[in-house]
Structures are given as structure tokens and as C-alpha cells.
């Protein structure tokens, strides 16, 4: 290999021809520039011509400088040769200590030892570190010959043996105390003095890192042990690299890394993992732009260093991480670890879910279930199948495929595979409860759930509800008793039991068996809480007292009932409803109350405006009476009160409670009234828009005009933006397409009843109206308005005056009469308008 020569290099023959003055000038210039090699060449030519003393001195100086230059490059062998050339050519043998160091570092131990022994007295003064270097070399495995030589030397025998045994003791795990005893035997002036500090620091590294650091720092920089000592202290060896402030293992000498890391408890693979993961490029999480690529690179690093991190850990970590990454991550994971088909499907489905592609995830979960189905004899697989099915159910609910048809079979499967999971039972029961035509299944599954969970209060209470709904009051009371055995203060169970005894008491009232009534009322009173007296029980006790002629007592009990109701209006309503149930005219009972006969009758005082808080209590007090004729009468009597009260400043929860109550009672006019006024005060509540529109079309979305649809769509967006999940679902359900049903049949009419009740005329009417409605809905909105108004466009003022209900009535009129524009013939309805609107439901 040819070496590139410097620009000022001239061939030997050319230099030989140069005059001495030129050569000298060049040699001095080159030496000054640090080009000692070429300077030496020129000085050598000059000396050959004439060995002048000043030239010999300059050459000696240049040789030494060249030696230092080579030593700085760890070329100690060449450096030593420079010193030897200097001695032989120039006769200059000064700087022996330097020469000895170079010899030792070049591995020429015999020569070094010989020279040292020859000149020990002089060298011990000029080169104080030489003995330490001899000692360190002797201890290292670099110079076995030197160790043997030194061991023979009387001055070295004892210190070397002590150093050897201390080193061995440390490496063999001697305690810090035992090591200390050995190290103390090494004298302060020994060439192994720094070894003493080094070994002590190493021994204390784990138990007292601060002291270890102090000891290591105390080793002088020119000591042969300094380089090793610099690797030890934590602040030097570790540097903080990542944003979390974790320390990374970064050893300044990669060749020394393995044993240094082991001192701290790391294996080389862990060290590599540390280094890779704490590099700024891979650490931290990318946020924008190249986030995916950056995350992918980080993922690859983790996979690559799985041995250092732990194979099991990395597998779990990556499994949980893949859904956040690209498809390549899954492929890399498959290449690295063995992945089962079920795991692959799960990862793909989770990735789709993570990307909000829920509908696409569903078939993958189904496929996963298909893989598990042949293995369902294994309890673990059964549990896995139940969990996956449960996840599917969650997704179906999320994307609003949550009808009985969608969820019934999956929930039943979950129950079959994992019967001990109560949530599936409760979900299925709730599904039956809310679906039409599932009352039987509702009660059956509630009973089955009680068998499975006989001591679970929530299951028992669900069964109480189901039994009550089927009017199986005795069964409900039995379940309520079971609840009280577990939770003796359960308010719901107590209320059920009170209601059960009150139900029996009412029957005895009608039969005139007052003793039996007394007994039942006393039983009911057992379940009453002192802090929360039951107003209905008090009214029934008052009725009994009245019928037994104890008018004064009746009056006291009625006062108590009003207080217990917490609402004058609600309390009066209860007296009105309850007295009729036991066959007493409310007016007569009012006489017993010591007031005018009409005082108790709702609606008597037309100027009375019930305050919002009083009205807010009505839903809870009156809900049990919703299906009674007396309740409908009550609302009719209260109509003007309630309408007047709608414009008050209700708290939003109270207002929503009232709207829900009116919706359940099918009191659509009141529902519209309260929702409408509510919107004026709280335009931020999209639920009120839903109630207003729902009431406006009598709960039947077929009658939704375009303008209402637009409002509902806006409300849906508002609910989504607010994260109001309940309103979002209500709106989606209401806006979604439903099978067309006649508005003349109530929601709780089942198909069987329709068939039984509906005559031929009605069927023809329904069909005809359905057809007309479909055609009408297909028209543009403006055309719809024009047709409803007999071919003219109404003014905005006229529309405003007409109101929503008036407009709906107009639509009915239009559908009834037909208008000759595509609808031919006479009205399909055999009697004239007014036709009963859906807002006045027919009650069973």
C-alpha cells in the first residue's frame, strides 16, 4: 500500500543535492510545523555531511518530539524506536522515564525491567508513576512475563502478593469489610496505592455509590488506574438522554461496557436495549406528521431488542400496541412471534375498532367466535367466546344495532357460555323490558336470573319490576322480601312491600272488610321508614278512619300525607286518586278534612300557580297511576294549571323529568308546552327539541314535517358535540326509519290485538291513508305546504298563528279529503273531521 507523501516531500536524491543552508532551513521549518518525520530526514543528511553539535542536538530534540507524537497515537513501539535512534545517533539518553513508559506500553517488558533495575535510584526521583505502571501491568494479563520478573524482585514480592490477593478477594465476592482488611495491608507508599482505592470503590459501588464515586474521583489522572476509575462513577458512566429522565447506560469505552454494566446488574442485551431505546430519535412519542413512521421505527427497535427487554414482555407489549400502528407492524409481529389465527383476528378487529371502523370489526369478531365454537368444551375457551360475544354486543349497541332482534341471540349465548356474568342477564332482561311484545320473556328471564343469582339485590329488584309489570304482585312481594333479607333498609323493596299490602287493603276496602284493611295497613306500616313516611299509606289510613267515622283522625292523617308527599299539589293529587280507588268521593273526604268540599279537588283554585319544585315531584308521585282513568281525569282538571305553570324557570333536571313523565303518559300537548318553554330558557339542551318534536307528532315519526326533521338533525349534531349519548340515541331512534304503522293504534297494541280489533273498514282506511301519506312524504316540502293549504302558499304570519298542532291537523285534513292532485276520489274516512289526533290516545 503506497502512503501519500506530504506536498513538501522531496525524493532522497533531490534532498542529497540540496545545499546545507537550504536543508537546515527546511528542517527547522518542518519541525516548527510539527512535521518531525521530514525534519529528521533533513537533519540526518546534514549530520552525514558534517556532525555538527548543534545539528545533533536539534535532531535529538526532533526525535523526541516525533516519539511523543507517535505515543499520542498509541504507537508506543515506534515511539520507543525514536528514543533509541536518538540515543544511538545523537548520543542523547535523557528522558529515560518516558522511554521506559513507552517500552512498557509497547510490551517490551524485559528491556524495561532491565533498564529500571539499572537506573532505579535515578528513575524513582524523576518518574514517580513508573512503579505504579509496573505494578498495574503485572496485575493485568497484558504482561505475564513482567509479573514473574517482578515477583522475583525482593522489593516487589510482598506488595505484589498483597495486591494479587486483594484483587482476587474482590473478584471472588469478598465483603467490603473483608476486602478492607486486605487493602489496609497495602502501604500508602506502595505502587498499588491507587489499586487500593479502585477496589474499594468497586466494592462500594452498589451499597454506597456516593463514596464509590468519591474514591474513584480521588485517583490521580496520571495514575495507571485512572482510566478504569473513570468508568465507574455513575455521573460519568450514565447520561440522561430521554425525556422521561431515565438514565441510559452509555459507557465511554464500548470495549469495557460488558463488565461495567454487570457491576450495575445489567446484561449486555439489556444494555443494548437501553441504548437503542434512549436514543433521542427513538425515544418519546411522535406527535404530528411523521408520527406513524416514527412510531413504527420505535416498534421495530422494541422487537429487535426483545431479548434484552424479555421476550414475553415484548410479545404482550406489541400485542397491545399493534392496534395503534400500521398493518406492517402486525406483519413484523407475525414474523417475530408465533401468532395463532385467533390472535390475528383479534388484532385485526382491535385495529379496526381503534380506527373507528366498528362495522368492519364486527365480522372479524364473528369469525373469531367461529374459531372458538368447536372448542367450547374447554372452560377457558368458553370464557373467551363469551368475552368476544360481549364485545360484539358492545359494538352493536354503539352503532345503534341494538334492537331485540340484534342482541337477543348474542346475549343468550353469553349467558350460556358464562352464566356467572350478571351483566349479560341484566342486559337481556332490560332488552325484553323495553321491547314490545316481550313481556312474557321479560318475566321468564327475570325469574331465571333470580335462580342464578338468588342473593343479588339488583337481580332481585329487576325481578320485582318484571313481576309488577306482569301484575304478579305476590311474586314481586316475595322477591322484595328476599331483597330485605340481604339489604334490610332497601327503599325500593320496602316500597314494593308497602304497595303490595296497600293493594290487598284496597280490595278489602271495596269488600267493606275494614278489619282486614286495618291488618293490611298495619303490615304495610312495618315497612315504612320513620324518616320517610309513605303518603299513600297515610291517605289509606285516613280513608279507613273516615269510613269508620273517625273524621278528626282522618283529618290528622291527611295532613300527615300532605307533608309526606312534599308537595301540596302532589299530595292533593294522591288524595284525589287514592280516595277514588277505595270508593270514596274526594269531595266527601275533603269534608272530613275540614275544608270546603272542593278544596281538595285539583283545579279548584284557578289562580293557583304550582311552583316548579312542587311540579317536579309529580312524576315520582303519580307515575304508578298513569294507566288509571282517574289519572286522565286529574290531568284534564289540571290542564289550565299545568299549562300556566309551564312558563316557569324550572331546573333542567326537573324540566326533563316532567317532559319524560308527559311523554310516558302520552300527554303530548303538555309535553310540547313544557319542552317549548324549556327551549326558550335552555336552547343548549337538544333533548328538549326532541321532546317538543316528539310531542308535536304525537310520538309517531311518520308525521314529522321536514322543518321538524331539520330541527331534530340540528339537535342530533348538538348532542353529538356535547357528548350527550342518551339524547343522541333517542334522536337517532326517532329519526331512523320504522315500519309504517297506523297512528290510530297505540304503541302497546300488539299485532294480535290489531287483528282482533280491526274491522274491514278500518283496514281499508289504514291502507288508503298509508298510501296517501307515502305519496305526500315523497313531495318536496314547499309542495307539501301548498297542497295542505289547498293550492296556495300561506304567509309566515299565518303559519305562526296556526302553530305546530294546527299544521298537523291541516295535514290530516289534506289526507282525509284528497285534493285531486294525484289523490283521486273522495275522503277515505266515513265521518267528518275532527278526527282524534294521536295526542289523545285511546286507553285500554
Amino acid at each position: 500500500m503506497s502512503k501519500k507523501k506530504p506536498a513538501n516531500h522531496k525524493s532522497g536524491s533531490k534532498l542529497q543535492d540540496q545545499p546545507a543552508a537550504v536543508l537546515l532551513q527546511e528542517a527547522e521549518a518542518l519541525a516548527a510545523k510539527g512535521n518531525y518525520r521530514d525534519a529528521i530526514e533533513r537533519y540526518k543528511i546534514l549530520i552525514k555531511r558534517e556532525p555538527r553539535a548543534e545539528w545533533l542536538s536539534a535532531l535529538a530534540q526532533t526525535y523526541l518530539q516525533r516519539g511523543h507524537e507517535l505515543a499520542a497515537k498509541d504507537m508506543y513501539k515506534e515511539a520507543a524506536v525514536m528514543w533509541e535512534n536518538r540515543a544511538s545517533t545523537c548520543g542523547d539518553s535523557s528522558e529515560q522515564a518516558t522511554y521506559l513508559e513507552w517500552l512498557l506500553k509497547a510490551g517490551r517488558y524485559d528491556r524495561a525491567m532491565y533498564l529500571y533495575q539499572e537506573n532505579e535510584a535515578a528513575l524513582s526521583q524523576t518518574a514517580k508513576n513508573l512503579p505504579a505502571l509496573f505494578g498495574a501491568l503485572a496485575l493485568s494479563n497484558k504482561a505475564p512475563g513482567l509479573r514473574q520478573e517482578l515477583a522475583k524482585h525482593p522489593a516487589w514480592t510482598a506488595p505484589l502478593a498483597l495486591a494479587e490477593s486483594a484483587l482476587r478477594a474482590y473478584c471472588e465476592g469478598a465483603s467490603a469489610e473483608a476486602l478492607e482488611t486486605l487493602l489496609k495491608q497495602i502501604p500508602f507508599r506502595s505502587p498499588f496505592r491507587d489499586l487500593r482505592s479502585l477496589l474499594k470503590a468497586l466494592a462500594l459501588l452498589d451499597s454506597n455509590p456516593a463514596e464509590a464515586t468519591r474514591l474513584a474521583a480521588g485517583i490521580a489522572h496520571d495514575s495507571p488506574y485512572a482510566s478504569l476509575a473513570r468508568l465507574l462513577p455513575k455521573p460519568v458512566r450514565f447520561s440522561v438522554l430521554n425525556e422521561a429522565g431515565h438514565e441510559a447506560v452509555v459507557c465511554p469505552r464500548p470495549d469495557q461496557e460488558a463488565w461495567v454494566a454487570a457491576l450495575y446488574g445489567w446484561n449486555p442485551e439489556q444494555v443494548k436495549a437501553f441504548q437503542a431505546l434512549t436514543l433521542p430519535a427513538s425515544a418519546g412519542q411522535a406527535e404530528t406528521g411523521k408520527a406513524q413512521a416514527k412510531a413504527g421505527a420505535f416498534f421495530s427497535q422494541v422487537l429487535k431488542h426483545r431479548r434484552g427487554l424479555g421476550e414475553d414482555y415484548v410479545r404482550r407489549l406489541c400485542y397491545q400496541w399493534i392496534p395503534h400502528l400500521s398493518a406492517q407492524a402486525l406483519h413484523a409481529f407475525e414474523r417475530t412471534f408465533s401468532v395463532t389465527p385467533l390472535e390475528k383476528l383479534t388484532l385485526s378487529a382491535l385495529t379496526l375498532e381503534h380506527n373507528r371502523e366498528y362495522s368492519q370489526a364486527l365480522p372479524l369478531w364473528e369469525e373469531a367466535l367461529g374459531l372458538l365454537k368447536p372448542q367450547l368444551h374447554d372452560p377457558d375457551k368458553r370464557l373467551q367466546a363469551a368475552l368476544i360475544q360481549s364485545r360484539r354486543i358492545g359494538l352493536l349497541r354503539y352503532i345503534d344495532d341494538d334492537t331485540l332482534a340484534d342482541l337477543e341471540a348474542p346475549l343468550q349465548q353469553c349467558i350460556k357460555w358464562q352464566p356467572e356474568d350478571k351483566s349479560h342477564w341484566l342486559q337481556l332482561i332490560a332488552l325484553y323490558r323495553d321491547a314490545p311484545d316481550s313481556k312474557k320473556a321479560y318475566a321468564e328471564w327475570a325469574d331465571k336470573a333470580v335462580v342464578q343469582f338468588p342473593k343479588e339485590v339488583d337481580v332481585l329488584l329487576t325481578a320485582v319490576e318484571a313481576a309488577n309489570q306482569r301484575k304478579s304482585f305476590k311474586k314481586a312481594a316475595g322477591y322484595a322480601q328476599a331483597v330485605l333479607k340481604i339489604d334490610s333498609v332497601n327503599a325500593k323493596a320496602r316500597a314494593v312491600l308497602i304497595e303490595s299490602h296497600l293493594g290487598h287493603a284496597r280490595k278489602q276496602f271495596k269488600a267493606g272488610k275494614y278489619e282486614a284493611v286495618t291488618k293490611e295497613l298495619n303490615h304495610a306500616a312495618q315497612y315504612e321508614r320513620v324518616a320517610a313516611p309513605n303518603p299513600v299509606l297515610r291517605i289509606n289510613q285516613a280513608c279507613l278512619a273516615y269510613l269508620q267515622g273517625e273524621h278528626k283522625r282522618a283529618s290528622v292523617l291527611l295532613e300527615e300525607a300532605l307533608r309526606a308527599a312534599g308537595s301540596v299539589v302532589g299530595g292533593h293529587a294522591l288524595i284525589f286518586l287514592e280516595s277514588q280507588q277505595v270508593g270514596i268521593e274526594p269531595g266527601k273526604l275533603s269534608g272530613a278534612f275540614g275544608r270546603k268540599a272542593t278544596a281538595l279537588l285539583p283545579g279548584w283554585d284557578k289562580k293557583y300557580l304550582p311552583p316548579p319544585k312542587e311540579l317536579a315531584r309529580l312524576p315520582r308521585l303519580l307515575e304508578p297511576y298513569q294507566e288509571q282513568r282517574a289519572f286522565t281525569n286529574l290531568l284534564r282538571l289540571w290542564d289550565s294549571w299545568l299549562k300556566k305553570a309551564a312558563d316557569q324557570a324550572f331546573e333542567s333536571d326537573d324540566l326533563i323529568g316532567l317532559c319524560e313523565f308527559f311523554k310516558k303518559c302520552k300527554e303530548y300537548r303538555l309535553l310540547v308546552q313544557y319542552a317549548h318553554h324549556g327551549i326558550q330558557r335552555r336552547p343548549d339542551l337538544p333533548l328538549l327539541v326532541y321532546y317538543e318534536c316528539y310531542g308535536g307528532v304525537g310520538g309517531d315519526n311518520r308525521w314529522l314535517p321536514g322543518i321538524m326533521e331539520n330541527r331534530l338533525e340540528q339537535a342530533l349534531e348538538q348532542a353529538k358535540a356535547q357528548g350527550d349519548e342518551r339524547t343522541r340515541r333517542l334522536l337517532i331512534h326517532f329519526l331512523s326509519e320504522r315500519p309504517i304503522r297506523s297512528p290510530f293504534f297505540m304503541e302497546d297494541d300488539d299485532e294480535e290485538n290489531e287483528d282482533e280489533n280491526e274491522g274491514e273498514d278500518s283496514k281499508a282506511l289504514r291502507n288508503s291513508l298509508d298510501e296517501r301519506m307515502a305519496k305526500f312524504q315523497a313531495l318536496p316540502e314547499a309542495e307539501q305546504v301548498r297542497r295542505v293549504f289547498n293550492g296556495r302558499m300561506p304567509s309566515p304570519q299565518e303559519l305562526e298563528e296556526l302553530g305546530r298542532e294546527g299544521f298537523l291537523r291541516k295535514i290530516f285534513e289534506y289526507l282525509m279529503r284528497g285534493d285531486g292532485e294525484g289523490d283521486e276520489g273522495d275522503s277515505p274516512f266515513p265521518f267528518p273531521f275532527p278526527f282524534p289526533l294521536p295526542s289523545k290516545p285511546r286507553r285500554k
Binding site: L167, C171, L277, L387
Partner: protein, 97 residues
Amino acid sequence: MTPFEMLGVAEDASDTEIKQAYLQKIRDYPPERAPQQFQRIREAYELIQTLHKRLEYRLFYVHEPTAADIIEHLLQQRGAPQRPSCEALRQALAASL
């Protein structure tokens, strides 16, 4: 750090073992003294407290780790400090000279 690591239990630990480890941890890190650590322990326990939850965790748990998470795990993996053999130390000394 996985919830198992957080509670210091094996991945196949039973409900009882996990509960005991959890109770010990919250004694070590009560909410009034170490609210953040307590919260992390509580979350870990909720993820794995029953067999059902553990299986759910294994099947569906999705988490994007940070470098800090992984390094924290690695720090937990540190073994006992090991002294070098005589030969290794002699070699290290030779290399440093």
C-alpha cells in the same frame, strides 16, 4: 409497566394473590401520601383483579407505550450487581493501560 409488574405478581397469580399484593401496595402507597402511585396501583388492580378481567385484559387491552414505559420496565429487570471475574478485571486493566 404491566399491571402485573405494578402489583409485583406473576402473570399466573390467583385472585387471592393479586388481592393480597394490591392490599400490600396500597399500604405502602396510601392515597394521602402518594396519590398518583395509589391511582396507578388501583388502575392496575382493576385491570386484573379477577380471572374474567385478566382474560379481558389479555384479549382486548390496547395501549400505546412510550419509551418511558419500556425503560421503566427495563429498570425493573435489573439483576443483582455482578463483580467481574479475576480474568475479566485483569483484562479490563490491560485494556485501560
